[in-house]
Symmetry: C2
Subunit: 195 residues, 2 copies
């Protein structure tokens, strides 16, 4: 017995990625924010989104927490589920880039191999990795969501930076230091690279 | 031990769905094409996409076959996998509607309950179900991909319309009869409903 899986043909569609992007007056991109919980990824992505939108750019934000309420609601926090979480988000970002959008992805995405997997889905120049390099001590000091305290108490397992590793990017297109620079300055640095 | 799952907060983002849609000069929609394999769903969706695009609308097509090459590549054709296939596509369509796009979804989506699940993800008026009501005999006669012949030979199991049911929509917003009307006429009927 074969399944239908061997019988899936790629459907050629008429309106191309470049046509969809050209209509929007922009180059489609995936801007991938990585960093520890509390590093400031979503704050910066959100501010960047506002600035791009106010300039007439067509954008969207895929936020780690929000996607877990919908598309990835069936996934937990085991290693396998974390990888699948990232894989799906990267595939959705690819579809949105195909739709001509500038997609901002805000995900801890702690493992190099998964960020590389995401990058490899895109054409050269489409994927921009932004490392929000706030040190662990600073993230823990801020602890906006109270998660570090919870993890230190042992009430939260596999927490990135504590009992689960964060592998720093070695060749991110952009590295942001939120302790030294304001969110506005960080966003402007991303805008310069995009321009 | 609790997991991180209980600690996911919804991130409020600044640029709203209505702002993203208004920027594009349109109301965001999910136009959901359902019908048998070979009914003409993708042909009509593709033509509609071209017409909408040429009018300056911002659109995207999620095609069943194409999504199975990426986001849903891990899914097979068991009942559970078919449901998960539709769930993910509906969630992606929801994200794209949130991005302000008019999303055309072309999926056999044979079960009423899964189409209802998709509909329920959207706000009232955002979801437009289009039943491409080409009868089985006609789809089998066309058999563009040769799949019906393969299924009749027993080389393909769980084929919708043959050994797997297709539940006809009872309250689709639009019903198209591709035997009686050309693709152009079918598309114009969808455009009238959208206008």
């Amino acid at each position: 017995m074969t399944s239908e899986a061997n019988n899936i043909l790629w459907q050629s569609l008429s309106v191309t990625k470049s046509a969809r992007a050209a209509q929007k007056g922009q180059a489609a991109k995936c801007i991938w924010f990585t960093g520890l919980s509390g590093a400031g990824k979503t704050t910066i992505a959100n501010l960047l989104d506002k600035k791009l939108h106010s300039r007439g750019m067509h954008t969207y934000i895929l936020d780690g927490d929000n996607v877990r309420h919908g598309l990835n609601r069936d996934l937990g926090f085991t290693d396998i589920d974390r990888i699948e979480n990232i894989r799906r988000v990267a595939e959705v970002a690819k579809l949105m880039v195909d739709a001509g959008l500038i997609v901002l992805v805000s995900f801890i995405s702690p493992f190099r191999v998964e960020r590389l997997m995401a990058r490899n889905l895109f054409e050269v120049g489409e994927f921009v990795e932004v490392y929000v390099a706030t040190p662990l001590e600073e993230c823990e000091k801020r602890d906006v969501k109270g998660l570090y305290a919870k993890a230190r108490r042992g009430d939260l397992k596999n927490f990135t930076g504590l009992d689960s590793p964060y592998e720093e990017p070695q060749a991110a297109e952009i590295v942001l230091h939120t302790q030294a620079e304001s969110s506005d300055v960080c966003v402007d640095r991303v805008l310069q690279v995009l321009a």
